[in-house]
């Protein structure tokens, strides 16, 4: 089963994600990760600050368990199902990234400049990570879902709001990569 240790091709991964969506539907739930942030906020006491967080969070515990599974899955996959997996990205992409000072492009799974130990001593990197997270958290709640809820589940159900949300995801991503990155890096 050597193939498991290498990167999984898109035509295996994509269908497996759809299978996962079906598995959740089959147990009476749905595939949508970002709502977990709302639940976590409520657990941290956000329900004392506004109505939005006043809901029956205990009914959402199942999704937190799925999230916990995700953490375990990341651990198992990186430690036991991989031998230092490095995404084989386009050499042009690697060149662009090295031009931005991201020397780890083509050499690691994640940019070590952003996600390695050195990141903690760089205030600019910490700030970018915080802002990025903020945008994802705010945007997913505003849009009513993230890539799992809209781009996968919603579009599989041919939902128009999910189509506009996904268009939005891409517009945002393109703006960030093409207009803002050159200013940041």
């Amino acid at each position: 089963m050597e193939w498991i240790l290498g990167p999984w091709p898109w035509y295996v991964s994509g269908p497996l994600i759809a299978v996962m969506m079906f598995a959740l539907l089959y147990v009476g739930k749905s595939f949508g990760v970002s709502s977990n942030f709302k639940t976590l906020c409520t657990i941290c006491g956000a329900d004392k600050t506004c109505d939005f967080f006043r809901f029956d969070w205990k009914a959402q515990r199942w999704n937190l368990v799925v999230l916990l599974g995700g953490i375990i899955g990341g651990f198992v996959a990186s430690r036991y199902l991989s031998h230092d997996q490095v995404p084989a990205i386009n050499p042009k992409t690697i060149d662009t990234l090295k031009g931005y000072g991201l020397e780890s492009a083509g050499a690691s799974y994640q940019p070590m400049e952003l996600f390695g130990k050195a990141a903690f001593s760089d205030i600019k990197i910490m700030f970018l990570l915080l802002i990025g997270g903020l945008l994802v958290g705010f945007g997913s709640r505003y849009a009513g879902g993230c890539t799992s809820g809209h781009a996968i589940s919603g579009l599989s159900n041919l939902q128009l709001p999910s189509f506009t949300a996904t268009i939005g995801f891409f517009i945002g991503g393109l703006i960030m990569v093409h207009f803002i990155f050159p200013l940041l890096f």
Partner: protein, 138 residues
């Protein structure tokens, strides 16, 4: 207890697929927004092709879930402004940190501790939305 194990198992499966497929890799997301590979489009596209087929089969055959209840897939709340504006804000963040919500936790499991800053930011962002939502166009 048995149900908890099922949810956990599905989550572990999700984590493994997302890591091995590299959908959790910052580099793959950057590459995607540069249109320099088919990979991510292949993942999303093939997930959608199968997903659409699965949902159609569920609906047309009135398939029941494991409890014998008809599988009900809720419609999404409408709102052009919220989905588009919210989507753009999300996309800006997704590209910046190279991770959407699921991968944030998968990367945590993979040991990239600085993702905790991203997760903290996402919690803050979620909270801010709750506080500000009545002032935003929907």
């Amino acid at each position: 207890m048995k149900k908890t194990f099922v949810y956990l198992f599905i989550g572990v499966f999700f984590g493994i697929v997302m890591y091995k497929s590299e959908a959790a890799s910052w580099f793959r997301i950057f590459e995607m927004f540069n249109f320099e590979s088919f990979h991510m489009y292949g993942i999303i596209g093939s997930a959608l092709v199968l997903g659409i087929i699965i949902v159609q089969i569920i609906k047309r055959n009135n398939l029941k879930d494991i409890y014998g209840e008809p599988i009900k897939i809720a419609d999404k709340e409408k709102g052009l402004k919220r989905t588009l504006l919210g989507g753009i804000v999300f996309g800006l963040g997704w590209a910046l940190v190279g991770a959407c919500p699921g991968p944030m936790f998968i990367l945590l499991g993979a040991g990239y501790l600085s993702i905790l800053v991203v997760i903290f930011g996402a919690l803050l962002g979620t909270w801010f939305y709750g506080l500000l939502k009545d002032k935003l166009p929907h």
